[in-house]
């Protein structure tokens, strides 16, 4: 066991570090995650438009379409916003003028998205359908810009011209190259009848990726990776959850909200809320149950103190006191339930939603929203809260035997310390 751990620490962690600091992945993550505040605001109006209580729903009925304008202006333009923020984040990491990169990327994104027959911007392409288009265009725009700056293919202003004027000229040539290239691709695609850039990207990239991301094994692997990293004391959720999976999970979140607005059935089980509300109950590892057990059942003084300290943060899904204080990090005994509990919760949640017993989530709530509230909030279904209770108990049952073993170890340790202190005390008195 120890050898396995050593091996993983020596070979896995450096790889993780490289992935986490990879510039393009980081820009994608920062760019996509920057849309979350908008989605949260949109979610608030989404709840108002579709309150989960029948009487309230009747009251707001006349105002539904007015309320949904806010949802359209948040969820509806997720891709458009990301096209700006992804390019902005990548340019900032290269110390290129990030504002002009962001603006150029928005313009490229709009140019790549075909207008409707009536000559309007196609709002259907501005949301999650445009998200992966925005990701590819955002990164490409900045790379072309960087290449041209590196090769010195830019218009330079003589000295004495204000810096901001010089910068705006520096973006001109790359801007022309990028926009003209997209224009040419548009024309060529239309000629060969291949559709549009978003269609091609959706067929080649988005559809397979989302199909893969929506499967149960994909979530199990992602959650397993998150837990394993945490076992090494590394923030797996930030690395894998936000770092790699967020664009996919948030795209599903957006699709669900859009379906709800359109009055269609909510399509995706897997989405950001699936993880936040049903798996991370108490934090990574579904540790709220463990916090409650620590608070109520342990005999060791050290663990009792930990229980008092960890229960309140646990309700807000913060569990570093437990992961580092118990500790779970590098603790082979606690590692087993720490990995098992969330994986089982993934399966129960998936099964209950796939069978239609519990409604699929469509509202996004902040990840710090306490469990038992968040389940109801995100699904609009009281059974969502019930499912959280079920997951809470499953996690508790899995943690309990391992906690008992660890507690006995700790009690022994404390007694030995006491004895050692006592015998030392005796020596000094004699």
């Amino acid at each position: 066991m120890e050898r396995v751990i050593q091996f993983l620490e020596r070979h896995l962690l450096p790889v993780v570090g490289v992935i986490a600091q990879q510039r393009h992945l980081q820009a994608l993550r920062d760019g996509v995650v920057s849309t979350v505040p908008l989605l949260l605001i949109g979610s608030f109006f989404l709840i108002c438009a579709f309150p989960p209580i029948a009487y309230l729903a009747m009251l707001v009925d006349p105002y539904v379409s007015a309320l949904l304008t806010v949802v359209n202006a948040t969820f509806g333009i997720m891709g458009l916003v990301a096209s700006f923020s992804i390019a902005y984040a990548l340019a900032a990491s290269y110390a290129i003028d990030s504002l002009s990169s962001g603006l150029l990327s928005v313009s490229s994104f709009i140019l790549a998205s075909p207008f409707t027959k009536e000559g309007y911007i196609d709002s259907g392409l501005m949301g999650s359908k445009g998200l992966f288009v925005a990701m590819i265009i955002g990164l490409l725009v900045v790379e072309v810009q960087r290449f041209m700056i590196k090769k010195d293919i830019i218009i330079k202003m003589p000295e004495g011209v204000p810096l901001s004027v010089g910068r705006s000229f520096a973006v001109l040539l790359p801007g022309v190259v990028i926009l003209v290239s997209i224009f040419i691709i548009n024309v060529m695609l239309a000629r060969i009848g291949g559709g549009s850039i978003p269609e091609v990207i959706n067929r080649v990239v988005t559809a397979p990726l989302l199909h893969l991301g929506s499967t149960l094994p994909a979530v199990l692997i992602a959650v397993f990776a998150i837990q394993l990293l945490w076992f090494f004391g590394i923030h797996g959720q930030a690395l894998v959850g936000t770092g790699v999976m967020a664009p996919i999970w948030l795209a599903f979140t957006q699709q669900n909200a859009v379906a709800k607005i359109a009055g269609e059935a909510v399509p995706n089980i897997i989405c950001q809320q699936f993880i936040d509300a049903f798996i991370l109950i108490g934090g990574s590892g579904t540790t709220l149950a463990l916090a409650v057990l620590l608070f109520t059942t342990v005999k060791s003084n050290q663990l009792k103190a930990l229980g008092k300290m960890s229960i309140l943060p646990g309700f807000f899904n913060i569990n570093e006191p437990i992961t580092f204080g118990m500790p779970i990090v590098m603790n082979p005994i606690m590692m087993i339930p720490f990995i098992m509990a969330p994986l089982l919760c993934v399966i129960t949640t998936f099964v209950f939603m796939a069978s239609g017993i519990v409604d699929k989530p469509y509202v996004l709530a902040p990840w710090t929203t306490p469990a038992f509230v968040s389940g109801f909030l995100v699904t609009g279904d009281w059974k969502g809260a019930a499912l959280q209770v079920l997951n809470f108990f499953i996690a508790g049952i899995i943690y309990y035997p391992f906690l008992k073993i660890w507690d006995e170890n700790k009690v022994k340790e404390e007694q030995e310390q006491m004895n050692a202190q006592l015998s030392q005390g005796n020596k000094t008195t004699f």
């Binding site: 600091q21 590394i234 930030a238 943060p313 913060i318 006191p321 204080g325």
Partner: protein, 102 residues
């Protein structure tokens, strides 16, 4: 003394801020300024603080933090996992003062 605490989202270091402030009051330290932020915001804040203490769970970002802290000539260190788990304001405040002296 201005201390910047950094973790993934500024939440769990947020727990630590209060503990460290209380510890500072106990020791009668005046002008103790402690702030928690996420690692994504560190560039925004680092100039305004004397030392940076980083939560252990983001040690995979060490290269980045090292480069940033040394370019701004700030002392930085990772917080010990056990101290972090116990939210041990006492020990972590010691660590911050240790960074000041060197």
């Amino acid at each position: 003394m201005k201390i910047l605490l950094v973790c993934a989202s500024g939440m769990s270091t947020g727990l630590l801020v209060n503990k460290m402030r209380k510890e500072g009051e106990k020791r009668n330290i005046l002008n103790l300024n402690i702030f928690a932020c996420s690692v994504d915001e560190i560039e925004k804040y680092i100039s305004h603080y004397d030392v940076v203490l980083v939560a252990p769970q983001i040690r995979y970002k060490e290269k980045y933090i090292y480069a940033l802290a040394s370019s701004k000539d700030k002392g930085y260190a990772f917080i010990d996992g056990v101290h972090y788990g116990r939210v041990d304001g006492n020990k972590i405040l010691d660590q911050a003062f240790g960074l000041m002296r060197t």
